[in-house]
Amino acid sequence: MNTVAILLSAFVLSVVALLAFIWSQRRGLLDDGPEGARVIFAPGEEGRIEEPAAAPQEAAALQRSVDAARGAVATAATQADLQQRAQADASSAPVVFFFLCCAFVWLVVASAAGLTASLKLHLPDWLSQQAWLSFGRIRTIHLNAVAYGWAPMAGLGIAMFVLPRLFGTPLVGGRFALLGGALWNAGLVAGLGAIAVGLSDGLEWLEIPWQIDVLLVAGGALVGVPLVLTLLQRKVRHLYVSVWYMGCALFWFPVLFLVANVPGLHGGVQQAAMNWWFGHNVLGLFYTPLALASIYYFLPKVIGRPVQSYNLSLLGFWGLAFFYGQVGGHHLIGGPVPGWLVTLSIVQSMMMILPVVAFTVNQYQTLQGHLGALRWSPTLRFIGVGGLMYTASSIQGSLEALRSVNAVTHFTHYTVAHAHLGLYGFVTFVFFGAIYFIVPRITGREWPYPRWIAAHFWLATLGFSIYFVGLSIGGCLQGLAMLDAAQPFMVSMSLTVPYLQSRSVGGALMVASHLLFAAHFVALILGRGPERTRAARIGAAVGARP
């Protein structure tokens, strides 16, 4: 294959696609106008906050800060306005609750496995007598518990909560999702057990044996059923931007997972290309869209203000859909794969800057003048930081795809830090925020200890900052030492030790924050804590509970 031809055609295709978007927007073909951004509000609701995670004083302060930014006082809600949403919440509550409970369990499991792996990297003789606790396995258990436990359970739970609200109709067929979720979790337990005893398909991100993957495929398909059934019942004319992301993510993932796990199909170098097509797309076309959809819903919802530019969100969506799918080859720069494949992926990695900038500008403009709201809303604080980390990790990822940068960072801990910036700083933080919003709505109970939410936020932020900064510096130095032929290889290993230790310190703080978060959830379920007067379900604040 002619490299120049591929490079040129990829570039031409990308630019043509971009021009087509600009043209179509000028013509208003894809544009529903600002009305599209308003579908998440009931008539007259704009300017009114919705923040179930805030304590009463915080909520009042949040409303005052939004009123001040708008220069107008929000009208009081009426029961009728919110009835549709209350029904949607009530219909999805049992299913969402189930998924979030699973998410909490996997969060704790994954945190424990991750911290163990981190410690073992600088204490190699610690717990070395059991095979399942050796680094190669506990690290893999950590990755799979995050990738197939915490992230999808939280993401799907959030989607299950948001979509009925966006379709203006109760969730239909929730029982399919419960069965699907049960199958999925059974598959994951079996998969982690298989990894622990040394049964693995051997590919990063695809370790779970394909025989067990069948359970995950069946479970995933069942989870999709109620979403399709609900979509068919929708009462709204317009599909909001969050629906595009969530809808496509739920169709993309099964294709990725099926193609990647067909036994006997892939082999040799081709399998490596497939491996990173999957590995990067499960991030880019599954977790990322689920998290972006959450931002597009919760951020405007909390501050009662529609997304600033609906056109930009269109550009962000289609840009992500087009460019992100093709970036996986940048994991094989310098490897024995066809050159055109790597070049194509580098080009598309750089093009990813476009949708990322579109998203960033859009969110910044939406929040502009409302930054004070970050102080009062726990949901917004997590989601705001998460959104910023999306920008940071994406730009960082684009730069890492450049050959000159990649030569230094590729085989090092720098990549590990980058991966956590995306999946933790961005996706997990956004999911934290969304869960703080959702739980009061589906359980009818408020978070009992507001200070625990603040402690969770600061512990996680501080811990992750230490984690990221330390590991990035260590990874850089490691890469530079490896490139210097005058230095023995062992130098590149021993110089990382203090940075690996700092990662364990940061990781321990992150784990502590997760334990606090999980304990808070348990306290809420058990009805502990001071009695709170403000009702947690929507609509309840203006009258009787629905």
């Binding site: 290309a273 087009f322 799918g325 990549t415 290889f489």
Partner: protein, 207 residues
């Protein structure tokens, strides 16, 4: 974008493009690549060892893809010439790896051909490489009072043997070492007439 069919169709077309580029085209181009001349299939013991390599997740710290000289000094480190697609003709699943917490192992068999070194290093890496961060794999070995017939006794540097016992390799450890020693691609990547002048000196022991 009112129509969900259009949305999903658009999304799937985008994914189809990506899949064509990163899965289908490589499948057509390099799935059935000819093995590099000189590459032999793995033996049964080596394949069992490869399964052990996978089971213990060695790939998370060791790559198997030496890079070209314009990219990294892998050749100078004795890791071998840059690998080509044909070198992986018998490798399913692939084990190219993405980390070099430890060194590249694509030619470890060429630069470290000693069974005893490998066995002792697996039992306790720090016995041979001070400061190594590699996990020890003591569970791949038996500590015994005396060796039985057919046992492979691991000779360890002083201070690393359990008190009053001898260390014997399990079949799992022996297979893994067989696989590691099979990792030797010190033959030329191209047919002899087109071979580059800088043919790899992969037998040099360097770390």
């Amino acid at each position: 974008m009112k129509d969900e069919i259009k949305l999903i169709a658009g999304g799937m077309v985008m994914l189809a493009l990506a899949t064509s580029a990163l899965v289908v085209l490589p499948y057509l181009q390099v799935r059935q690549v000819e093995p590099t001349p000189g590459l032999r299939p793995y033996t049964a013991a080596e394949l069992r060892g490869r399964a052990t390599y996978i089971a213990h997740g060695c790939v998370y710290c060791h790559s198997q893809q030496p890079r070209a000289a314009n990219f990294a000094p892998d050749l100078q480190r004795g890791w071998g010439r840059a690998s080509v697609a044909g070198d992986y003709a018998h490798d399913t699943p692939h084990l190219l790896g993405t980390m070099r917490t430890g060194p590249d192992l694509f030619n470890i068999g060429a630069r470290q051909p000693s069974d005893q070194w490998h066995l002792g290093h697996l039992y306790q890496p720090r016995a041979y490489v001070p400061g190594s961060l590699m996990p020890a794999y003591p569970f791949m070995f038996d500590a015994k009072d005396k060796a039985d017939a057919g046992d492979v006794v691991v000779s360890l540097p002083p201070g690393y043997k359990p008190l009053g016992k001898i260390v014997v390799a399990t079949p799992e450890a022996l297979d893994l070492v067989a696989y590691l020693k099979a990792l030797d691609r010190s033959f030329a990547a191209l047919p002899a007439k087109a071979a580059p002048a800088s043919a790899p000196a992969a037998s040099t022991v360097a770390r």
